[in-house]
C-alpha cells in the first residue's frame, strides 16, 4: 500500500520570531526554515512502516513556495520514495482548508491507503489540516497518534487525549496525525542526502488540481503578545514564601 505524507516548511522551532513593526505579520525574511517537527515524525513513521513491509511506497507532498523543494528533499533523505510539490505564489497565504483540498485532489489521484500528517504546524498552530482532509475524503481519522499499527484493512491508533491515552480502530484508507511521542525521527546521513537528490520530484500548480486556494480567513493585524512586568530574584526560600503570602497573595 501507498502512504502519502504531507510536510510543511516552517520557521525553525529554535528561532524566536519577531513581529513586524507595521503589524502585517511575523518577520520571516532571512530566518532559518526547516521541516515542521511533527511532519518529520510523520515521515519517520511512514518509512518505518515501509521497513516493516506494511507499505510499498512513501510519497512526500508539500504545498507552498519553490523553496519547499528543500523540505521535500529532506523527506526523501529520511526515506520517502518520491515527492510532489504543489507550488503556490510567495504572496499567497495558504490556509488549512486550501491545503486539505489540494491534498484531497492528490489523494484522489494517487490512491494512498494511509495519509500521515503532523498534528499541527508550529507557525500557524492551527491543528486542522489532517482532520479537514479526513472530512473531505470521507476517511476516518486518528489524530494525536502515539502508536500506529496496520493490520489487514484496519489501522489501530493510540491517541494522546486529555486524560491519558485512547485507542481507536480505523478502516483503511485513513488519516493519521502524529504526536510527539510517536517516534524519534532519524538523522539524515550524507549518502542519503545525495541519494535524495536523484529521487523524482514533480511540481504541479493548484489550477492543475482544480482547487481554489484563496484564503477564507483574513488576517487584520499581527501584534506582540502582552509583556510581563519584570520579576525579581529572591535570595532564599523564606523570602520567597513571604513574598508569595504578602505581596502576590497567591498562597
Amino acid at each position: 500500500m501507498k502512504v502519502l505524507v504531507p510536510v510543511k516548511r516552517v520557521v525553525d522551532y529554535n528561532v524566536k520570531v519577531r513581529v513586524k513593526s507595521d503589524g502585517t505579520g511575523v518577520d520571516i525574511a532571512n530566518v532559518k526554515m526547516s521541516m515542521n517537527p511533527f511532519d518529520e515524525i510523520a515521515v519517520e513513521e511512514a518509512v518505518r512502516l515501509k521497513e516493516k513491509g506494511a507499505v510499498t511506497e512513501v510519497i512526500a507532498v508539500s504545498c507552498g513556495v519553490t523553496q519547499c523543494q528543500e523540505t521535500l528533499r529532506t523527506a526523501m533523505a529520511i526515506g520517502a520514495d518520491r515527492a510532489i510539490l504543489v507550488e503556490t505564489p510567495a504572496d499567497l497565504e495558504l490556509q488549512p482548508l486550501a491545503v486539505a483540498k489540494l491534498l484531497k485532489a492528490l489523494v484522489d489521484k494517487e490512491g494512498p491507503s494511509l495519509v500521515i500528517l503532523g498534528k499541527q504546524a508550529i507557525d500557524d498552530d492551527c491543528n486542522q489540516t489532517g482532520q479537514m482532509l479526513a472530512a473531505l475524503t470521507g476517511m476516518p481519522q486518528g489524530t494525536f497518534a502515539s502508536k500506529v499499527e496496520v493490520a489487514g484493512d484496519k489501522v489501530s491508533v493510540t491517541r494522546e487525549v486529555d486524560g491519558g491515552l485512547e485507542t481507536v480502530s480505523l478502516s483503511l484508507p485513513a488519516v493519521v496525525t502524529t504526536d510527539l511521542r510517536l517516534n524519534e525521527p532519524r538523522y539524515v546521513t550524507l549518502p542519503n542526502i545525495m541519494k535524495a537528490k536523484k529521487k523524482p520530484l514533480d511540481i504541479v500548480k493548484p489550477a492543475d488540481l482544480g482547487v481554489d486556494v484563496a484564503p477564507r480567513i483574513k488576517t487584520l493585524k499581527v501584534g506582540e503578545p502582552p509583556k510581563r512586568g519584570a520579576g525579581v530574584k529572591v535570595p532564599d526560600v523564606a523570602t520567597l514564601v513571604t513574598k508569595l503570602k504578602t505581596e502576590a497573595k497567591v498562597i
Binding site: V17, I122, Q128, G164, A174, V222, L244
Partner: protein
C-alpha cells in the same frame, strides 16, 4: 444570530472547559445553545441547562456517540449546523479533533484557539507558540471556532434554566470504532482548571525523584502537577501532564517551575499564569525572564525547604 457550543462531558458531568466556551459564545452577542452528544448523558444535559446564559440544550443520545468518535460527532454537529451562525468547541483534545472536520464538511475555514472575541466575525488568536497575536476576520457564513479555555472566565454553572430538547442522533459512520482507554489516575485537581500548578523539568532526573520531590509541594499547595516536554519524553511524568505549545495551555494563579529552563515551546503553555515562580540553579535560564519571583538554587534542597516553610 445563534451560537452552538459543543459540550465536553463524561456523560454524567460537564467538563469545566464547556463553561469557558459558553462565556466566549455569549461574548458574540446572540443566543447560546449547547449540544450534549453522548450515550446515557441525560445528567450532563441537565447540568448544561443550569449554566447561566444558555437558552437551549440539545441532547443527542446514541451508542455511536458514546466515545466521542470524530466521524460520528462531526456528523451530529453537521445535522444541526444550518440553524447556527457560530459553532464553538473548547480547544481540548476532543474539540480540536472534531472542529476542523465540521468546518471542512461545511466548506468554511476554522479559527483555532481564540483568546478574545473582538466582534462576531473577528477574533484574536496566538500564533508562533504565542510569540505573536493575530487578529483574524472570517467572511464565512458559519464560523467554526475552538476556544482557548484559559482566555475566558468560566460561566456560572448554576442559575440558568434552559429547556432540554431531544434531537435525532446521527448514524454510526461504520469507519471507526473505539477500542479502549488508559486513564492516568490522579486525585489532584485537573491541570487546566487548577489554581496552582507545580511543574517539573528534566533536572528532576528520574520518575522517582520527580514524584518524591514535587508531590509534597503539590500536596501542601493543593496543586496539580505539570511537566516540561523534556521531563515527559524522559519518562519522568505522563504525557498528559505536559505543559506547552503542543501540550496543555494553563493559566493558574500560581505556577511553580522547578528545574525547567523555559524553552519558548514551554513558555507558550504557561506564560499567562498570574504569578510565576522559577526555581533553577542556572542563572541564565530563560524561565527567569518571565518569572515574577526567581530563586536561584538547587531544587533538591530548595523544594523541601519550601515545603517546610509553608
Amino acid at each position: 444570530m445563534t451560537a452552538l457550543v459543543i459540550a465536553e462531558h463524561d456523560h454524567g458531568t460537564l467538563k469545566s472547559a464547556t463553561l469557558n466556551t459558553v462565556t466566549a459564545a455569549a461574548a458574540l452577542g446572540g443566543d447560546v445553545h449547547v449540544l450534549v452528544a453522548g450515550h446515557n448523558a441525560a445528567a450532563a444535559a441537565s447540568a448544561a441547562a443550569q449554566i447561566a446564559g444558555v437558552a437551549k440544550v440539545l441532547h443527542a443520545d446514541a451508542a455511536a456517540l458514546a466515545e466521542g468518535l470524530a466521524e460520528n460527532v462531526a456528523a451530529q454537529v453537521i445535522a444541526l449546523a444550518p440553524g447556527y451562525s457560530h459553532i464553538l468547541f473548547p480547544a481540548t483534545a476532543a474539540g480540536k479533533n472534531v472542529a476542523p472536520r465540521v468546518a471542512a464538511l461545511l466548506d468554511v475555514g476554522q479559527i483555532s484557539d481564540i483568546t478574545k472575541v473582538v466582534a462576531a466575525d473577528t477574533f484574536e488568536r496566538p500564533i508562533y507558540a504565542g510569540n505573536a497575536i493575530a487578529t483574524v476576520q472570517s467572511a464565512d457564513a458559519t464560523k467554526v471556532i475552538t476556544v482557548r479555555t484559559t482566555g475566558f472566565d468560566p460561566a456560572a454553572a448554576s442559575g440558568g434554566s434552559a429547556a432540554v430538547e431531544t434531537v435525532a442522533a446521527a448514524a454510526d459512520s461504520g469507519k471507526s470504532s473505539f477500542v479502549g482507554r488508559e486513564v492516568t489516575k490522579s486525585d489532584r485537581p485537573e491541570l487546566t482548571a487548577a489554581k496552582i500548578i507545580v511543574s517539573g523539568g528534566r533536572a528532576l532526573g528520574s520518575n522517582d525523584k520527580f514524584m518524591e520531590v514535587l508531590t509534597p509541594l503539590a500536596d501542601k499547595l493543593g496543586a496539580a502537577l505539570g511537566a516540561s516536554r523534556a521531563a515527559v519524553d524522559a519518562g519522568y511524568a505522563p504525557n498528559d501532564w505536559q505543559v506547552g505549545q503542543t501540550g496543555k495551555i494553563v493559566a493558574p494563579q500560581l505556577y511553580v517551575a522547578c528545574g525547567i529552563s523555559g524553552a519558548i515551546q514551554h513558555l507558550a503553555g504557561m506564560k499567562d499564569s498570574k504569578v510565576i515562580v522559577a526555581i533553577n540553579k542556572d542563572p541564565e535560564a530563560p524561565i527567569f525572564s518571565v518569572a515574577d519571583y526567581g530563586l536561584e538554587a538547587d531544587l533538591f534542597t530548595a523544594v523541601p525547604e519550601l515545603v517546610a516553610a509553608l
